[in-house]
């Protein structure tokens, strides 16, 4: 009984969790932004450490960076669910206060998205504050033409949106804390 309970979900994951290709033909997008009552320099100071994202993102319990913000830098993030994702840094600019990264290896059981790249940028807002934008380009978990409801475009968009929104709210709370 115990064994069955363990085996069934495992088999299920093994069966559906390993598509032969890494992503599908039609990318989806999510873009969220938030106004923060703190200067862009101060907000950038919080987010600029690529490997230290867990310091401000409440959706994560842990993050570990490798290679700083240089070419080929990467980080492993641990979500609240316990699942880990590895992300590679693709573009980083202190001047523009922006960086772009990409999922290195898909794990659709952690996030129902089979591939993503995302961009975080800090821009001047009103009254000396900031606007932080976080956008993602990604593919649904099941890239075939008849995905299950928890692996389709809507599921991917919802997961990304929730993840990004939680992160931005956490950043705002941290940046505005006295």
């Amino acid at each position: 009984m115990r064994l069955t309970r363990f085996l069934v979900p495992t088999l299920f994951v093994l069966l559906i969790g390993a598509p032969a290709w890494a992503h599908g033909p039609t990318p989806q997008k999510v873009e969220e932004s938030i106004e923060i009552a703190a200067p862009p320099d101060a907000v950038w100071n919080i987010v600029k450490d690529f490997g230290g994202i867990a310091n401000w993102n409440p959706a994560l319990t842990k993050s570990e960076g490798k290679g700083g913000t240089g070419s080929g830098a990467s980080r492993v993030i641990t979500l609240k669910s316990g699942g880990e994702l590895e992300e590679g840094l693709d573009y980083y600019s202190d001047d523009e206060k922006t960086y772009l990264y990409r999922l290195s290896k898909e794990k659709v059981d952690v996030l129902p998205v089979s591939s993503y790249s995302a961009e975080l940028s800090v821009k001047p807002g009103k009254d000396g504050g900031s606007v932080v934008s976080w956008s993602g380009r990604f593919y649904r978990a099941d890239t075939g033409n008849e995905p299950a409801p928890d692996r389709n475009d809507a599921a991917a968009i919802k997961a990304m949106k929730n993840y990004i929104t939680e992160g931005l709210n956490g950043l705002k709370a941290k940046a505005e804390a006295k």
């Binding site: 290709w21 693709d90 961009e119 956008s135 075939g144």
Partner: protein, 336 residues
């Protein structure tokens, strides 16, 4: 291998009929907008949208026949290809090809070559009926498809296999499979038919392959996530769109050095060249617009609002039938 090489050289030499350039004439730029489910038509004289053609859900790749009279748009989510009449600016028929049609190119006789992202094939299909004439197994997740300027060869970038397949356009036999960088997606051929350029998204570089020897001759670094490629009509410049940096780099084709670079919209994909080699058009997927670039300086001249998810575009001559289309029009499949 030697036989294959000889065959390639023969095919390349015997059928190297360069399409006439549309010099002096204005052109039309057709842009496939994934989210808006439209194809925008831009007049390259005024650089304004003059029409928006509604199409089916999630268009991806676009190509024109050599005369520029007919456009073909793939819909991987629907297993369909939309056929558009360039003059009427409307959909005239839908080819129900099934599967996941993605990259597309059109040969001189009008045959369409289509990659199927999930089936790992390239098919030659009848442009009237969509009926499959021939089918070739290629690498995994075949993306961009282009034909040689003479029309005798078909090239496809196998995204998940890190290779390019070269097919005989007549028989659809695989003549060669060549390793490139990681995640090749877009490709383009020099107008003289000698060089194949392949943009490798994950290794952030461009593979240059000699079509005569079937050997990679150079690898050039590009910006992060290169998703779009085009060569100018005179062959002198190679343009590379970096999705990660939101820029387009302009390289000298001989030295492969970057001579200019410019910011465009967000997450650029497809690149096309204007009729006089002076301007380039870049589809910006995230920002849903098209950047017009000055090819000599890399400066963005104009940003044209098109529609959500502008992905692929093709430049065709106005007054088709008299002038041949953009060489890229016959050779570009998806230029994402």
């Amino acid at each position: 291998m030697l036989r294959a090489r000889r065959l390639i050289v023969w095919l390349a030499a015997s059928l190297l009929a360069m399409p006439a350039l549309a010099t002096g004439n204005d052109a039309l730029v057709f842009v496939a907008n994934q989210d808006a489910a439209t194809v925008s038509v831009i007049d390259s004289g005024a650089d304004e949208v003059i029409a928006s053609i509604p199409v089916a859900f999630a268009p991806a790749g676009i190509a024109a026949d050599p005369s520029g009279a007919t456009l073909y748009v793939t819909h991987p989510e629907r297993g369909e290809i939309t056929v558009i009449d360039a003059d009427q600016r409307k959909v005239v028929r839908t080819l129900k090809v099934g599967g996941t049609p993605f990259g597309i190119a059109v040969s001189h006789d009008g045959t369409t070559f289509v990659s199927d992202w999930n089936k790992d094939t390239v098919t030659a299909a009848d442009p009237q009926t969509g009926k499959v004439l021939r089918r070739a197994a290629v690498g995994r997740a075949p993306a961009g498809v282009v034909t040689s300027p003479g029309g005798s060869l078909v090239f496809v970038a196998n995204r998940e296999s890190n290779t390019v397949s070269i097919l005989n356009a007549t028989t659809l036999n695989v003549v060669a499979t060549i390793p490139v960088g990681r995640a090749p997606f877009a490709l383009t051929v020099s107008p003289d038919g000698r060089w194949l350029y392949v943009a490798n998204v994950q290794s952030a570089n461009i593979s240059v392959i000699s079509i005569e020897t079937l050997k990679p001759v150079a690898t050039v670094s590009a910006g992060p996530m290169p998703y779009g490629l085009a060569t100018t009509r005179d062959g002198g410049r190679l343009l590379v769109a970096s999705q990660g940096a939101g820029t387009v780099s302009i390289l000298d084709s001989s030295s492969l050095r970057t001579i200019a670079s410019g910011k465009v919209g967000r997450f650029p994909e497809g690149v096309g060249i204007g009729p006089r080699d002076d301007k380039a058009y870049v589809a910006n997927w995230f920002s849903g617009d098209v950047s017009v670039l000055d090819i000599s300086t890399g400066k963005e001249l104009k940003r044209i609002r098109t529609g959500g998810g502008s992905r692929a575009l093709v430049v065709v001559a106005r007054g088709h039938g008299k002038e041949a289309a953009d060489p890229n029009a016959t050779t570009n499949g998806l230029q994402p």
